[in-house]
Assembly symmetry: C2
Homo-oligomer: 205 residues x 2
């Protein structure tokens, strides 16, 4: 994992205590990202965190428990970013939401990839909990699109379809984003806000 | 891998001969998709193909060679789908390209995920070859956007950015598409063609 993302993750996951448990979660995200969930052992994670393999089990029941915590926190963070975007103007609100959601997926691409690509490795109970957060994320964006339609500010023939596309566009930033490719996360956010406003047929103010 | 995709892959990869080599490639795609490249052994692939582990090495030098062939054929197929879309009307041409590219990523989602998510496991030489195909894919779509701008049919402030978004939107279909979720690959293609025409500010005819 790139050093800069590692450091930012450490602050994102400040709620995870004690620090040893947090360090393990970050190490697990880095290891899953590099070799996949099934290609990673708890021994690999312990080595990445600079701890003994037995120390992992003090804080987490299993490798899957580590994945679940990464997934839960990743999804909860995404959801809170979206619900924090408020305001009465539907155009400005959707633009802000896309800006923050797309740029988050650029900044935290390593975590986002693990979260998005390893869902099938979760237990059914954990997947159900994550699916609830995913429905919340989808609902938050759909509500913004619906508000624009209701206000006469957007022209959207298929609200669910447009919502799906907006989320997909932002999430996929995590797959292709590279910090040395010439666009910053903020620039991606601005580009995508403009493209999404076009997708929903936003009227110029 | 779902049985229907398995069968369609068999026809897509008809160029791979002898049949044993083709069967191994399809087995490798299924195994990489289920457990990731690093979580899969050549023994797993042989078992999936119903062959002995030694038989794998008759046709492929290594596990990485299998991944490379999947990646090369997957990218070459994507590129040929896009370059096959011709016509003088830039609006109809881009719409057709998006329809075919998005629906392909729904139909062949398992293969597409392996192709997109395991690039970092390729050797530098193989990655360079795949990167050349990726530049071709990006160039094919960019050329369609540029043609629309040149003809006065599109309004695109950032051609490279819009091209990136169009490709990303279509590719990410492979991540979330599920055949039982109510939309067919063709319906996704139609939805996305409309959304992309909005993104490029296509003038109504």
């Amino acid at each position: 994992m790139p050093r800069d993302e590692f450091e930012r993750l450490d602050s994102t996951w400040a709620s995870v205590t004690p620090p040893a448990a947090r360090r393990m979660l970050i190490a697990a995200a880095a290891a899953f990202s590099a070799r996949g969930y099934h290609g990673t052992t708890t021994r690999d994670i312990a080595a990445e965190a600079g701890m003994s393999p037995a120390a992992v089990y003090i804080h987490y029941r299993s490798k899957e428990e580590l994945l679940f915590q990464i997934s839960r926190i990743g999804h909860a963070t995404s959801l809170s970013l979206l619900t924090a975007v408020t305001g009465d103007d539907p155009v400005a609100r959707l633009a802000s939401a896309v800006r923050v959601f797309a740029s988050w997926h650029a900044e935290y691409r390593t975590t986002a990839r693990v979260v998005q690509y390893e869902l099938s490795a979760l237990t059914p109970e954990h997947l159900a909990e994550v699916a609830e957060l995913r429905r919340g994320i989808e609902g938050a964006v759909r509500e913004m699109v619906e508000a624009g339609v209701a206000a006469g500010a957007f022209d959207v023939p298929d609200v669910r379809g447009a919502t799906l596309a907006v989320l997909s566009l932002c999430i996929d930033v995590a797959r292709w984003f590279q910090p040395d490719r010439g666009r910053t996360p903020a620039e991606i956010g601005d580009l995508y806000a403009d493209l999404v406003l076009r997708m929903v047929g936003a009227k110029a103010p």
